[in-house]
Amino acid sequence: MKTDTASIWKQSVSSGLIAGAICLLVSLVGLVESFGDTYIIRGLLTLGDFILLIPIVLITYTALSRFSESSRTTLLGVSAVVGLVAGFILTLLVLLGQAVDLRVMFVNASPALFSQLMRGVPLPLGALIPPLQGLIAAILGLGIYLIPARPRSAVIQGILWVVLIGTLRDQILLIDLLKPRPIAAILKSVIFSSSGLTPIGALLVFAITAGLSYYLSGRKKRVAVSQPTKTQKRNRIILFFVLAVILYMLPKSLGIFYIEILDTTGLFIMMGLGLNIVVGFAGLLDLGYVAFYAIGAYTMGVLTSPGLGLYSLTFWQALPIALLAAWLAGILLGLPVLRMRGDYLAIVTLGFGEIVRLLVLSDWLKAYLGGTQGIQSIAQPQIGPLKFDTLQQLYYLILIGIVIVAFIAWRLKDSHLGRSWMAVREDEDVAQAMGINLVFTKLMAFSTGALFAGLAGTLGAAKLTSVYPHSMTFIVSINVLVLIIIGGMGSIPGVFVGALVLIGLPGLLTEFQEYRLWFYGLALVFMMLNRPEGLWPEARRKRELHEEITELVAE
């Protein structure tokens, strides 16, 4: 028993050290300071504080779940140790920062960061602040641990909503629907302060969202069992119409700022649907997906731009040619590389993407592709007198494109071809033995994906009326890959969820842009380790991934 308690304390200290190291990292990377004036709750909590303290909460929680047998007092002690140790490390950082100028090496280790870590309290007393904060965070972790599962998820959702709504205060107030005087006045005076929520507003938001989530989580289970399919079908149709009306109304009720984000998100959804076929359905990891977007966009540019002076077709004349070019590029790349295994294929496609970018960038092809300057004044679509030249009008065009692409993807998924793709994904050799033509099946996946990216490329070119080689980087391929992985590989609704979460949300938060890829990387690792099936998993994929894990455990 004695050694047991000793090991508990040892483990709590090491958990505290890990939490402290994460807090240290987050501070030095600059997240705490950058989000230090984005208030979630005015005067109480900034987004920076939230990012700083959430690791302590999480680590306390995981540490506690290891000692589930222990008494409450032990649990309290464990959380206190974790919180204090983590906070103490931050104090050390502050003290070290006072003694030496850390900024020579760590650009973010500035006095502003230190004073924020100490919440503005001057030094001798301020040194106590980080451990105190850590303690509070750890107790919060303990609280979350102690409440039963159903209210726990409600509380967590409530907290997340408070953070989201508080952070997006400025953007929410930009929505036209909320602009009428009485609503805006109430929002501004009761819920929102000049930055973030008011304490009362935060409580309100928390109560509403947590309550709602508690209610829904109880309701869902009962409904799913008892509801007959007929009403389900009717509900689905109603939902579809409501969604259609909302999507139609969106650009009319939102400012230009939102429509820009919506358009970009739409283009990414389109690319995501394409890559989802390649990666999600057929299991071929393509890291050079941006190449097909580039081919679509550049073909559109070359064929329509009077600036380049090669051809001057209209958008609609150039569209089929651009799509054909992207599709052919998909086949041309597909033919040689499809005989390779997964991870090799990934690297080769990455190489292909880079080759396309380098060619577009080179002086060699400057006369045809514009070199570093890219191509300007690309034609925008026009039907009769109706010109699609504003972001609002292009929104509808992109929406139509998404509907078509999503419909094709959805129909393909359960077709003969779609099932062949999934068979190839599960096991190539068995699929071949079952009579599936591997080359044809993979080529179809590759070229369909390329076609969708090409479509996104043409629309993207029309949206900006220009294309630049610098926007065709590897990062774009990664963005698309991340969104389908977060959403759930092989899941069509997952693409939408992924794009909204990963492209839409960061688009709203301009401070966030600089750390977007940091969060993407973290999200990829985290998802792969803990939830490889994604946020909105495809049923078969989920089964597959969990099967393998259980099989291994059984072994």
Partner: protein, 353 residues
């Protein structure tokens, strides 16, 4: 005989071979034109070769990390480029500090050793953290999962270092003793070049010896043959994997310092392109093979520095040097298509994971 051949060859084979032959003809034609025109002097060719050799040495050292990890875990450690970046990007601050107190140029050898040690230590730490946090739990996961994790880790590390050390490139202070040239016969070789080429070669020799002759190296090779059997023979597989990651990390960290000696500048994105090229080198030489990493790296460096002038300019392509990265990637694609085993390796690109 002919009939059987016709059955085996598919349409895609024909397309692939046609592309390959077309490119081969273009390369030969371009080379002939360049030689005929005699655009460059012998001295220029020697300089280009030296460039190729020093780049090649660095690629080999990085490629070693890919090769060793691939040999043991059958995964592409995509984040290895960040292991390479982290070392020199951290050590630059030590170099700058030593320079500011005047120690750097008064004791150049000690300073270089200190800076290299720090760089290797940081790279090893990053490699080990990667293994412990990200890869260990995924050893038996479906094939794409570790690769996607590695890509995520790569971005996470890049932007972590960018956040910590800033967005701007940091400049390594110059060492006075490495300025100027040494003359061997009638050829003047910049001192930095020779130091880099020789130290990369010596390091590869040392690493080769470690893998081939020491007991741990033997254990490494047996783990890469068969993990279960190695474990039954009393080899601690976890410990060997950790050792492999440290060896890869160390060679990447040292390669980073050599890279910094040549280019003087380090920044958070510096790992991406050399990492890709080193992976190409590993594949070119035959992945899982230490000699292959050296051969592939050296060849790639040479092709990359000689290629643009040798055959691209002969084909009448202006500013051919812009396309040298393209050559490296094209080599990667074609090696994987025509000789997936690489020059010295086993056939892996088509086998199942």
């Amino acid at each position: 005989m002919l009939k059987r051949w016709r059955q085996r060859v598919t349409f895609s084979d024909i397309v692939v071979w046609a592309i390959g032959i077309a490119i081969g003809i273009a390369v030969v034609y371009g080379t002939i034109v360049t030689w005929r025109r005699a655009d460059y002097t012998a001295e220029q060719w020697i300089n280009l070769t030296l460039d190729g050799l020093k780049l090649g040495g660095i690629y080999s050292l990085i490629a070693l990390g890919y090769t060793l990890v691939y040999g043991i875990l059958r995964m592409i450690n995509f984040a290895h480029s960040e292991v390479f970046m982290s070392g020199p990007f951290t050590a630059v601050f030590l170099a700058k500090y030593l320079d500011s107190i005047g120690f750097y140029n008064s004791h150049p050898l000690i300073s270089l050793i200190l800076v290299t040690l720090l760089s290797a230590a940081v790279s090893i730490t990053v490699a080990l953290l990667l293994e412990r946090i990200a890869y260990r739990r995924l050893r038996y996961a479906p094939r794409l999962v570790p690769l996607i994790t590695a890509i995520g880790a790569s971005f996470f590390l890049q932007y972590t270092f960018r956040g910590m050390y800033g967005n701007d490139p940091e400049t390594y202070p110059t060492l006075d003793i490495l300025k100027g040239t040494w003359t061997i016969g009638s050829i003047a070789i910049p001192k930095t070049d020779l130091v880099v080429i020789v130290s990369a070669f010596v390091l590869m020799l040392i690493l080769y010896t470690i893998v081939q002759t020491t007991k741990t190296g033997k254990a490494m090779r047996s783990v890469s043959e068969d993990k279960e059997a190695a474990a039954l023979m009393g080899i601690n597989v976890d410990r060997i994997i950790v050792f492999t990651f440290s060896l890869g990390g160390a060679s990447a960290g040292i390669a980073g310092i050599l890279y910094a000696l040549i280019f003087q500048q380090v920044h958070f994105y510096m790992g991406f392109i050399p990492g890709l090229k080193a992976f190409t080198a590993a594949v070119l030489g035959g992945i899982g093979n230490v000699v292959g990493a050296w051969l592939g790296g050296t060849l790639l460096g040479l092709i990359e520095s000689l290629g643009p002038n040798l055959f691209l300019s002969g084909l009448g392509i202006p500013a051919a040097n812009q396309l040298k990265d393209g050559i490296a990637f094209a080599i990667l694609v074609f090696i994987l298509i025509f000789r997936p085993t690489g020059l010295l390796g086993e056939r892996v690109s088509k086998t199942k994971a």
